[in-house]
Every structure is written in C-alpha cells, then in structure tokens.
C-alpha cells in the first residue's frame, strides 16, 4: 500500500489492475474462464472444508457449480410485472442497536460504510457516495434456503465499483467480508465479487431500501441463497483469509452449520 496517497477521491475511471484483471478473466467464456480461474482453489473449495461425507459433498457441489458458472452468466432477470406484492421480511427486521436507531432517525445522513483491509486506499463511504457510483438495477428472485422465493427490483452499486472506489484490492486479497449492524458477517470469494449482479443495494422496487429489507444498504448475491444476502451492512473489509473470523468457516451461517457456498 502506498503511503504517499492522499485522501481518497472517487476515481471511477481508473480500474485498479488486480480487480480488472479478475473481471477480465471472469468475462472469458466457459473454457477460458475455467482454465484461468482454475488456478485459484478459492473458486472451487470453501474456506474451511467440513469433515466426512458432508465436506466431500460441499466441495463437489461448489466445484460443479463453479465449473458450470465459469462463464459468469447472469442469474435470471424478471419483468416488472413479476415483482412480488409484499416481499417478505425475514430474520432481523429492525436492529435494536442504539447507534443504528440514531442513524435511522437522521435518515442515514451520517451513516458511513468503511471499506478497509487489502485495498489500495481504505476509505469510508457515505450513502450519497455510494449512490454516485455507477449503479445497476436488476429484477431478480430472492431464493431463501427455508424454501420461499420472491421477486423484487434492486438498485445498487456493484461491489466491484465500491472496491474500485477504494483504489482496488491489493495482492493477496481473497475474500470480501461484510459485517452487519446486528453482528452477522459473511465472506464472499472473488468469483462472486467480480460478478455484475453482486451489488450493494440501496433501493428496492424504486424506493429507498425499507428497514425490514436491510436499510440503508444490503448485499445482493443473486446466485446464492438468501442467507448470504446480508442486510443492514455496517462495513466491508478485504482479507486474505477467513481464519480469524468467527469459527473460521467463512461466515456466520456456516459457523452455525449451514453451507458456506450457498448456491444450492
């Protein structure tokens, strides 16, 4: 990391080398993508492999999914008419955290998202900063591991753009860890980070993200189950290992015993 750099400006034009190379790799169609991303174990194996038959199945599931997805296709996008009338709010619907309640009352004007860790220029983004980044709008199905699914329109900044705003990731970056106001965290690997539909959403069905759906900012990870799509984001950090987080499995859901790779 360069010490001479001054405070971050939102330099959106310049794509940092490392991320853009990954982005490039991932845009190569199936076979090329397979060969290139094939170099990285992270693409095929969870951060911590469970013991026994379940662990073998985890690796089989993740690697077959990733082989099939090596061309980085988009998850199905739907029509506005498909949008669910009342999208469920599950789990945490209004964090009791005092600081969060204060920010909420002020319309999230003072809310900040620190972006730290293995990035060129660690920084802290306001909601307006994030809204000024290039955005993406997508109508997708939220697939909850419980069994339900519902379609909504999400608008947000691609995670890749947020990392670009921080000057891009530095060498050794393997996972992006997202923390939430209510103490959840999930690590996601670079294969998902570079995907265009991986966005930090601040708008849902055209309005500001409702509290029950994770205001002011939530993750959309369209090719994985609901529990990976964290609400109430508090901070992001880029790391080279998940070992120091929770039980080291790579996320709070996998700490509890759910799949880390939630493409199923």
């Amino acid at each position: 990391m360069s010490k001479t750099k001054t405070m971050p400006t939102l330099d959106l034009g310049a794509r940092p080398r490392r991320v853009s190379r990954r982005a490039l790799l991932s845009s190569v169609p199936a076979l090329g993508g397979l060969l290139l991303t094939g170099c990285s174990r992270d693409t095929f194996v969870p951060p911590m492999v469970r013991g026994g038959l379940i662990g073998i199945a985890d690796v089989l599931t993740m690697s077959t999914n990733r082989l099939l997805l090596s061309g980085q296709p988009l998850a199905r996008e739907y029509q506005p008419s498909d949008i669910a009338p009342d999208f469920p709010t599950w789990g945490q619907t209004n964090p009791r955290d005092e600081k969060y309640q204060r920010l909420l009352r002020a319309g999230f004007a003072d809310w900040r998202l620190p972006v730290s860790g293995l990035v060129e220029r660690p920084l802290s983004l306001s909601l307006d900063d994030i809204k000024r980044l290039p955005s993406r709008t997508q109508i997708t199905a939220h697939v909850c591991e419980q069994g339900w699914s519902a379609i909504a329109q999400w608008t947000g900044a691609p995670l890749l753009q947020v990392l670009n705003a921080a000057g891009g990731v530095t060498s050794g970056a393997r996972y992006v860890v997202l923390d939430t106001v209510d103490g959840w965290y999930e690590g996601i690997d670079m294969f998902e980070v570079v995907h265009p539909q991986t966005i930090l959403a601040y708008r849902m069905n055209g309005d500001d993200l409702p509290i029950g759906n994770g205001a002011p900012l939530r993750l959309r990870l369209e090719r994985q189950c609901g529990y990976k799509n964290l609400k109430f984001l508090k901070s992001i950090q880029v790391v080279d290992s998940m070992a120091d987080f929770g039980k080291g499995t790579g996320g709070i859901n996998s700490d509890w015993g759910f799949h880390w790779y939630a493409g199923v």
Binding site: L69, R76, A141, G147, R223, F258, G263, V264
Partner: protein, 262 residues
C-alpha cells in the same frame, strides 16, 4: 462356489430360458441355485436404498421448516398456496418444531451426491454390458394386451410370483423399473436442481421447464410422494414374490430354483 460366481455373469435375470443352472451342494444340501443379481446391481441397489432413506428423511425436515407449496416463481408465507400443511391439522409452528432445515439441507445435498454417483455407476454398468436390454426391455411377445392384462390381474391378486420367474423379471416389473430409472428419477433430480440459485443461473432453461422455482419445489415434493408409493408397492411385490428368497438374492446374488420349476 467358484462355478456359481462364474455362471453369475451370464445368468442374472437374463430372461433367457437357457440360463445356466448351478448346484451348490457343499453349502445347501441338494438345493439348486441360480445366480439372479450381479455384483453391480446388488451393491448399487443397497447403496441406493440408504441414499433414498437419507434423502427422504432430510427432505421431510426441509419441507417441515416451510410447510406450504406454491406454483410459479414466487411463494412465501401469505402468498396463495397450493398446499398448506396447516389445512391437515399441523400448524406452521408445530411443523417448524419437527423440522430442522440445517440438518436437512446438509444431509439432503450430501446424499443427493451419493444417489447421483451411485445411480450413474449403476446405469453406466448396465448400459455398457447391455443388461438393461437383456433384463429389462420387454420382449415383443410380452407386450401383447393379453399378457399385460394377465400380468396386471395376477399382481392385483397378490400373485406377483406367478409373473416373475426365477430367471426373469415380469413384464410390468420390467416396465416399472425402466420408467423409474429413465423417466422418473431424472425428472425428480431436475426438479431438485431447478430450486438451486447457482444451478439455475447456469441453466435458466430449468426454470422454464418447470414453470419456476416454486413449481419445481412443488413437483419435487409430489414426485417424492410418488417415489414413496413406488417403494411401498415395490416392497409389497417383493413380499408377494417371496420376500426371503428375493431379498436374499439381492444380497448374495443367488436364488434357489423352485422344485416345481417356475
């Protein structure tokens, strides 16, 4: 013993009248035995039974944690459902207390792999060796209305034994195995995959094929009920045909030849 093993390769339920008959005096007196099931079929069959058992129990756990079914892409609590367990006297909370989706998901996806790999090995072996054709494809002369009607009538009268000889499967038996293996199980697998957000990103055609994720979930559940019915009938048939000999033959491979020479 050696003889019996060597003979086995050619004689398992081949449907041929000239099946080699071996006698195994050393072990079973003067009883005459026929090799009915090959190693491959026996091993795969019992692995499959274990995998199906785990898939069923874990699948029930997953279902109980969200005990409603919907049609289309969308479905959640409060959305118009096509099936509600609460209509059958089990409330959402009671169902949730019985089901454990974490355990369920972990074991469902693990034994889905066991089921798939085992199934592919079974199908591959039977394809390569031509066993499906020899043992399961009904012969032309079997597919007459008269024969099918007689087959059905005997089954309904608990006379499966009459239709399935020691050397070959009966016509309905053959047909139901083929439908199960080549139509039913592939569809059940696809309705499972059509629920996976990762898999459907790679193959969105699966969503169109079944009309959406919730339709796929409903069809997967209905398919499971049908599969359970298949297994119930399957086991009843084994009972009707002589459970001890049939199950023993699925374990040891050998089946005694009946004195009356059925």
């Amino acid at each position: 013993m050696r003889n019996a093993e060597r003979a086995e390769a050619q004689t398992c339920v081949t449907g041929r009248e000239d099946s080699v008959v071996t006698s195994e005096r050393s072990r079973a007196g003067t009883k005459e035995w026929i090799a009915r099931h090959s190693y491959n079929v026996r091993i795969c069959h019992w692995i499959n039974v274990i995998a199906c058992g785990y898939l069923l129990v874990s699948g029930i756990h997953i279902f109980l944690d969200f005990p409603e079914l919907y049609w289309g892409h969308t479905g959640y609590q409060g959305y118009p459902a096509i099936f509600k367990l609460s209509d059958w006297g089990i409330s959402w909370d009671d169902a949730g207390a019985m089901g454990n989706r974490m355990w369920g998901r972990n074991y469902h996806f693990t034994f889905a792999w066991v089921f798939l790999i085992n199934g592919l090995m079974y199908v591959g072996w039977n394809m390569v060796t031509g066993q499906f054709r020899d043992r399961m494809l009904p012969r032309r002369d079997e597919l007459t209305l008269v024969n099918l009607r007689a087959d059905l009538r005997d089954h309904l009268r608990w006379l499966a034994r009459k239709r399935t000889s020691t050397t070959s499967y009966g016509t309905l038996q053959k047909t139901s195995y083929l439908l199960l293996i080549f139509v039913f199980v592939p569809l059940l697998t696809l309705t499972g995959l059509a629920q996976s957000p990762g898999f459907t990103a790679a193959m969105p055609a699966l969503l169109d094929m079944f009309g959406g994720r919730q339709s796929a979930r409903s069809l997967h559940t209905i398919g499971t009920v049908l599969l359970v019915l298949f297994v119930v009938v399957h086991v009843l048939e084994v009972l009707a045909a002589g459970a001890f000999n049939r199950v023993r033959s699925m374990i040891t491979g050998k089946h005694p030849l009946p004195e009356e020479g059925l």
